[in-house]
Amino acid sequence: MAYAIEMRHIRKAFPGIVANDDITLQVNEGEIHALFGENGAGKSTLMNILFGLYQPDEGEILVHGKKAKITDPNDANNLGIGMVHQHFMLIEKFTVAENIILGREPRIHGRLDMNKAVKIVRNLSEKYGLDVNPLEKVENITVGMQQRVEILKTLYRGSDILIFDEPTAVLTPIEIQELIEIMKRLVSEGKSIILITHKLKEIFEACDRVTVIRRGKVIDSLSLGETNPDELANMMVGRQVNTQINDEPYEPKEKILDVQNLTVLDSRKVKAVNDLSLTVHGGEILGVAGVDGNGQTELIEAISGMRKVKSGIIEIDGRDMTNHRTRKITEAGLGYIPEDRQKHGLVLDFTVGENLVLQTYYQKPYAKAGILNQKVISKKARQLIEEYDVRTPGERTLARSLSGGNQQKVIVAREVDRSPKLLVAAQPTRGLDIGAIEFIHGKLLEEKKKGKAILLVSFELDEILHLADRIAVIYEGHIIDIVNPKETSEHELGLLMAGHKKEESRE
């Protein structure tokens, strides 16, 4: 029987890099096929080719056994191929319905027929159990719902082959479960799905078969019965993976971060952090677990002085830092690895060197009396590039042209090198491949050894379970419970993150 999708010997090169190198991908009718690989392995590129956004340099594509020429998304749509993109493709000012019908608008004598559109959307969302409000503006709906809109877009176009590019990266554990349900339902409706993800767990939960790609080449294509997580992980990176574990003994030193009854409003003036208290001691990693949107971002922004504190106190190393300027707080000993490396962590159009002194450019020895000392700066840069093994032609290269993982390394180097008393790390490994993750985890543990206090915020439960000495679970803006990783389970954490607190909770 013919494959739903068969991509033969696809090659695609970008300036300076071959993204896809003789890739062959075969997806059976009615299966969920996982595409698994490091960042930059070439997954998105391959899918963008399948969807007609890029043209392959070589190779051919067969859809349901028939040769297909896909030069733009229209062709893909006509062939029944739909794609849910890694970065959502939604127009925030438009309503859900408008976003879905865009490009194939129902009309009555040349005019938009919105009523019909709304009806269609309602029917679709009922049929597939994708609950959305057609008349709501996209800017006002949750990420999870936005993703449902993306899926509906493809269904509205009658796609029977759906591509999901890293759909779970932006989702909370609960939403992830829902999504997996939805995908199974779609398959049972006779659709075929290609799922891109970095998360082994999901692959084994959701998929039938998997194709592993590394640096643009297909390593293997096998059904999940025949393999196991470790094997896949090794295939992906091409070597033995040894995940870092926090095996250091836990002996907290003096209090470094002390947050008391903190209340912070979010941009919509709603209490995002609500009477929250926590402390972090030297020589410990405090993991903050929680579903996205429970106040993590606001908490960190408050600590780093990026957001006004409504009430409460923040003390760093015994000094009151409540509502002080970021610069002052940094100087008081805060190191900060922000959530969005490209937007907040780096000046992409600065050189690597300039980025490495982004926090210290105005201090001796990098500057005297307002005059920069280029020599010292580049010397320092070269040293850090060496030390943190940042893969870059040199310190004069623009940060923009660095790869995601290497960009993150630059930030870590900058923040850790200042050896701050308190290191706040938000999603430090999001979207990175296992190699880079290893490296960064290693650095965090080193700092702990040095007796620094580390506040680690992450949506990846296993990351927290691996690294944290204590886990503070945040729910609706306050710490619902603090648990010991050695004695807790994903199940318990899941419940806490969902707001269910057990009666006999440990201390």
Binding site: G16, K343, G345, V347, D349, E354, Q359, I371
Partner: protein
């Protein structure tokens, strides 16, 4: 990789040259279409500005405000801002310097002259400060706000002159000699052109911009905020302050340009019923100069030469002066399309690479 970098640098030099060439070429074609003789026309320009001291002098004179206006635009560009308001800031600075010179007549030269120049810079700076403030506080896009400020400046300066500094001939009184940049010496060696000491100010401006942007922490912050306000904020910089600062400095350069006209070229300010055009030319100069101080000087030289020479071209080859403006416009278009020019050049030089 380093090879690729070299190619890029090579590009940044070639693109402006190609653009200028193409601009002049199109200009020639237009002249042919109009039945004029391009060789005679361009010849007359070169002949006049290189062989006749008067026009050489006038060219340098015209360069002075162009350089400063160009620096103003370039400086803002470097910090991620597009200052279309140079025109208005220039007029504000022009009036301020002239007013200062007239009102404080009697002060000794060593005080009055610098004071008048600074007055121009300060008021020009203020005129840039406001859009900066609006952007920092209310996210008002500077392109729009500076356009609005241009017209406010145009009408306001006219009103002030009319009502407070008026004299026969629709202008302010002439400034006292003690505040003048004009120089008989310079005039004499250039057959009585209006060349004045302002060129020193322009040179200082060029050096200043270079120092500020690349040698100081202030410049580091300005560029950082220009490239990425968010990252700068996370790095503890005061984004708003830097935006305002940048616009103010840019405006100050523009104000200086105005002061040069007021204290140097004219010795007074006329009631302008339309814009001087210097500000808009400044945009072209900055772009052609790739927003680098030296580039700005070279670009200013080209445009000043074209405009001064254009007058000779009019009388010798009979070509309407508007042609010069057309050529300048075309050059901007070509510079703006550098992406295509690079692409084309790479195609041509492509054979060499695999």
């Amino acid at each position: 990789m380093s090879g690729l970098l070299k190619k890029v640098n090579w590009m940044t030099l070639v693109v402006p040259l190609v653009s200028v060439f193409l601009g002049l070429l199109c200009g020639a074609l237009i002249m042919l279409a109009g039945g004029y003789n391009p060789l005679l026309a361009y010849g007359s320009i070169i002949q006049s500005i290189f062989l006749q001291p008067y026009y050489a002098g006038e060219t340098i004179r015209a360069m002075i405000p162009l350089v400063l206006a160009g620096l103003a635009v370039a400086f803002a560009f470097r910090t991620g801002l597009f200052n279309i308001g140079v025109e208005g800031q220039l007029m504000a600075g022009w009036l301020a310097s002239v007013a200062c010179a007239i009102e404080l007549d009697g002060l000794p030269r060593i005080i009055l002259l610098p004071l008048s120049i600074i007055a121009g810079a300060v008021v020009g700076g203020l005129w840039g400060y406001l859009p900066g403030l609006l952007k920092a506080r209310f996210k008002v896009h500077e392109v729009i706000s500076t356009i609005m400020m241009n017209y406010i400046s145009l009408y306001a300066t006219a009103y002030i002159i009319k009502n407070f500094l008026y004299t026969e001939g629709e202008r302010t009184p002439t400034i006292p000699a003690s505040a003048s940049l004009a120089s008989n010496f310079l005039a004499n060696i250039t057959q009585g052109s209006r060349l004045h000491w302002g060129f020193i100010v322009a040179i200082i401006g060029v050096i200043l911009m270079w120092l500020i942007l690349w040698k100081t922490t202030m410049g580091y912050e300005l560029r950082s905020v220009g490239f990425s306000p968010d990252a700068s904020k996370y790095a503890g910089m005061n984004v708003g302050r830097n935006i305002i600062l940048s616009m103010a400095i840019s405006g100050a350069f523009a104000g200086l340009a105005g002061a040069m006209e007021g204290l140097g070229t004219y010795q007074y300010m006329t009631i302008n019923s339309a814009f001087t055009g210097i500000g808009f030319n400044g945009i072209a100069v900055a772009l052609l100069g790739m927003n680098t101080p030296v580039g700005v000087v070279l670009a200013a030289a080209l445009f000043a030469g074209l405009q001064t020479g254009g007058l000779t071209m009019q009388s010798v080859a009979g070509v309407p002066v508007e042609l010069i403006q057309i050529v300048i416009a075309l050059i901007i278009f070509f510079i703006g399309s550098s992406y295509v020019i690079k692409w084309a050049l790479l195609r041509f030089s492509g054979r060499g690479r695999n």
